[in-house]
Symmetry: D2
Subunit: 333 residues, 4 copies
């Protein structure tokens, strides 16, 4: 960490600041120039509150050299983490296709989709029971009944299941869900993250629409700091000025995250684009970029999907995508 002092700083102020740093166990190095004095801090600076430092009157600016996420940081854990989700491994060379309907609607729908996606090679079944919707007047999900239907489909097909949690009070309802999803809108719902950090469940953490990679990793850190290290990250598009697609899929996040962290990284091309016609090409691109998995919406009757139908594939379309994704994986192995 580097702190630049303002021109007017007195020697006494500087000394008392350095004393404070030393008391935090940091090594202090001073470069004194004609116009500026620069203080280099070396040691564990992850717990230094950078905003507090910046607010001091003698400080002109502060810059971290190391990233403030410790548990998620690749530097302190060079091996890829492999997360086991109900027997399916994700990360460290293990690639998983996750598929299923946006919303769980009926037993028939879930069963039909689950069997179809399993046959095409999906390793996990996704399905929304609690649905975050922008409008209070839109369909909000089957809730507990939706979880029940997913569990039935799991018993029938053997596919571990993934579903989104929205409320800290619902954790108990998710006890048999194999991978608990934190949606983009809750990526900084810190109390929910802390509570999930106390569970022993794998967590699928989606990047928020306006959150940078550092914030995504800090949110993973909230979960990991509680003791739960089984976190999978998910890029699902960020909000930009472009309106042809619902969001802008930031695929460079995949190699960048792989550099910054040991956690697995998957991609959700369905929510990222919001357009089913773009899902195939973005799934292939995700696989080529080095992602550890893709999560794709599949509906047996997209015409009548209660939500997000515009971005769902039919089972037939999904079958083609899954096969082509695997071809890309093989070509690059």
């Amino acid at each position: 960490m580097i702190a630049v002092l303002k021109q007017g700083a007195t020697k006494q102020q500087r000394d008392s600041l350095c004393e404070w740093f030393k008391n935090m166990g940091l090594e202090v190095h001073i470069s004194e120039g004609k116009y500026k004095t620069i203080i280099g801090l070396i040691g564990d600076t992850s717990k230094v509150d950078i905003e507090l430092l910046e607010s001091l009157s003698i400080i002109e600016s502060v810059k971290r050299i190391s990233e403030p996420f410790k548990n998620a940081n690749r530097k302190f854990h060079t091996e890829d983490s492999v997360v086991d989700v109900g027997g399916v491994k994700i990360g460290g060379g293990n690639f998983a296709i996750i598929a299923g309907p946006c919303s769980v609607e009926t037993r028939e729908q879930v069963m039909a989709v689950a069997k179809a996606v399993k046959a095409s090679g999906a390793k996990l079944l996704r399905g929304g029971a609690f649905k975050p919707r922008t409008s209070p007047y839109d369909f909000q999900g089957l809730k507990a009944d939706g979880i029940e239907l997913l569990l039935e489909a799991k018993r029938e097909t053997g596919l571990p299941i993934v579903s989104e949690i929205m409320n800290i009070n619902d954790i108990e309802l998710f006890r048999d869900v194999d991978l608990i999803q934190v949606g983009a809108r809750n990526m900084q719902n810190f109390d929910l993250l802390k509570a999930l950090g106390k569970t022993d469940k794998p967590i699928l953490l989606k990047r928020g629409l306006a959150n940078n990679l550092k914030e995504l990793l800090m949110s993973a850190e909230y979960i990991m700091a509680g003791g739960n290290e089984r976190v999978i990250l998910c890029e699902r598009g960020i909000r930009t000025f472009e309106t042809y697609t619902r969001n802008t899929l930031d695929l460079s996040a995949v190699p960048m995250l792989h550099e910054l962290t040991h956690l697995p990284v998957i991609v959700d091309p369905s929510h990222a684009t919001g357009i089913s016609r773009l899902v195939e090409s973005m799934s292939l691109a995700a696989a080529a970029s080095g992602a550890d998995g893709v999560m794709i919406e599949v509906h047996n009757d997209p015409e009548r999907a209660l939500c997000d139908g515009a971005q769902s594939l039919t089972p037939e379309q999904f079958d083609r995508v899954a096969k082509r994704v695997m071809k890309v994986r093989e070509a690059l192995s």
Copy 2:
């Protein structure tokens, strides 16, 4: 609402679609062209799920003409709403300066700041007891003890208090807080919004960093749909590519929101800019833009503020800002 049909749509598909619209109580108008058929829908379309419509195979695109927020909509409630917060009116020509520390830290701090800002003309006291911080290692607030200290300051000064809620399970703790703030990161924590819609408390709803005005109004709608119409909106900066300021204050949101909704709109220049030196000019600009209030961070010792010190004013600086804000208000009255 307008729906454009795809070229291949058959007459039968079209008729069955129109039937469905009529069953929802909508008037249907058809314009048939050589290449396109356009269906105009007139009536209460606020409960039509636009994504469902878009997913139908015969639909090319759908466009709302009326906004889907009903309770918050200026069209159905042309008078400005005035929200009474512990005796202080906000909106409809009533302007309020809200001030106080980012975080509640000690009794001495809260009391000193409360008295100072009251003397300078603040009408409400703000203070954070629960703090949403990007890093799990940063100070997270005094929590329940912080609320207690704010209540003491209220008893001492008579200023109604504002504080941020982060957890749906803390609502009871906020029973004596006059204005409950929903922070930017929780703007789409829909379960929290629904729960607040069941209370009789005024709610200060901050715009999310990547949320557009429609989404802000839809979140207000979540609260209002539950029966609580006492919502105050707050512009506090959005996330853009510009990095000189922490966020980009979107002041045109003020007149735009006043056109779209009858709810009061205030501005938080401290969080928007993240730089105390810019707070004065942005407070003046907010007042000139027609905002119904400003919320300003004030700390008696910014050098040692536990969080966000870089954006806090001293009581002396705040006094100057408050006086100049009132001059702008008078000049334009």
Copy 3:
């Protein structure tokens, strides 16, 4: 095109508006509702000035149904365009790897890089002679001498060359350049586009940092309207709030553009990410997404590159990337 009239519009105003539309050769369809009147316009609306319409006092809003780019539009030209660049075909199934140094620096450098990238499978040589730099104090390129060196390398290797033009007065200098690049900062330099539309040169049009796909296509339209239909589009990253990468590569632009236009679309992963370590994964992703080519920066000595060294590959790294890109292409063919 759809126009929604304001509530107060009189029958006379409406009639005169409809008359005006009919005089433009458009079919007019009116849907009259209790609260709104909607006018549907069918025919060639590409030349209607939408801002003019929106400014009329009786108009509430206007929406185009068809896109206003006519020459570039896939609807009116369903076959993929194939652009021939000095004998190398791009588009319609023809994939081209373009490679070379960011800046042309010395004869030795250009020759060494040209030979190396040719050996690895590159079909065109890129090199900057005129360099747009944010700072007036940074290296601005070898200019005419740089073009000369590129032409020498072309004579030596047979690779057609690509270079960026910045000034309308330099077109004559580019008479032997096979593909003239318009950089992101000049995407809306309309006078330059018009002038290039009068030439018979293939044009590589890069998307601006804050330009959406429609604007990119309208800029292509500027060139095509002048008679030059040989335009290749290039996605090279857009500006977002994310700062880990220099820009955010918007790969979903590739399939989206292929849907909207018949023009070839290539991707520049070097400028998009600004980080050489990310170029391989983003090149592979671009190929998998269906791009018609990739343009990659290669330098024989990135340590001493006069500009943008941080994003250049060594010839060895490029060789690996080129081979793997072709593997992805084969796997998906």
Copy 4:
């Protein structure tokens, strides 16, 4: 400037790097830690190419402490610059209202608007002769004839005139234009900036839609490096995800620019919002934020404006805005 070395850097590499810095006349300060070595550079670093440095293999990261714009920098020129435009002073406490039509259309229009805005207090007349339009099929301006009409209006009213240049070859046409505007799309048309730097004309430099403040100042630096120091900056909205307004007016740019540079800063609320109903409130906010002027579109018949009519005020509306803007100025003086 600070450079952080990578862990593996050898002593020899470090010494040769330090030698290189010293040869550039910089003072070099080294802080050696267990994990990192930090080099502080003091002196005139404005001409160091930061990308070149970052590309060296032994460098982990580089950070500027001083801004790389030298002529525009407030640090080296602490007094506000006052730019004289045909006798009208702008900056350093001198506030100017600039007004006129988006496009020059007819003699009658220009004369009528010029007289009206002068009567209401405008100090300069604006008018577009060359119009940058997204579509090649939209009206492109009266060009040289438009300049002639503006000059006539100047002779008639005495108001100095402002008009936008788009082509480096048109500079001679602008010889009698008092303030030459560089539009947002040309903010990084570096050849145009250099050419304008050779003239003795005041330049109004508009911020690009996706350009940060540093880039705006670097573009000013392009003009100033050529010897022309008479630059006025203009904030006119940036591109964000919000679509209710055409762009997002970034008013915090006003105080931030005043801190960074001595150049005058004005605001264009018409282009920023694209909605005439928002122009009054944003003009007032701009004045309150400390801007040195506002530039407002006024049309005598907005119903028939050939472009951008949606954002133009009538002369009556402008009269009210101008009077209220001056009230804000007085209240804060």
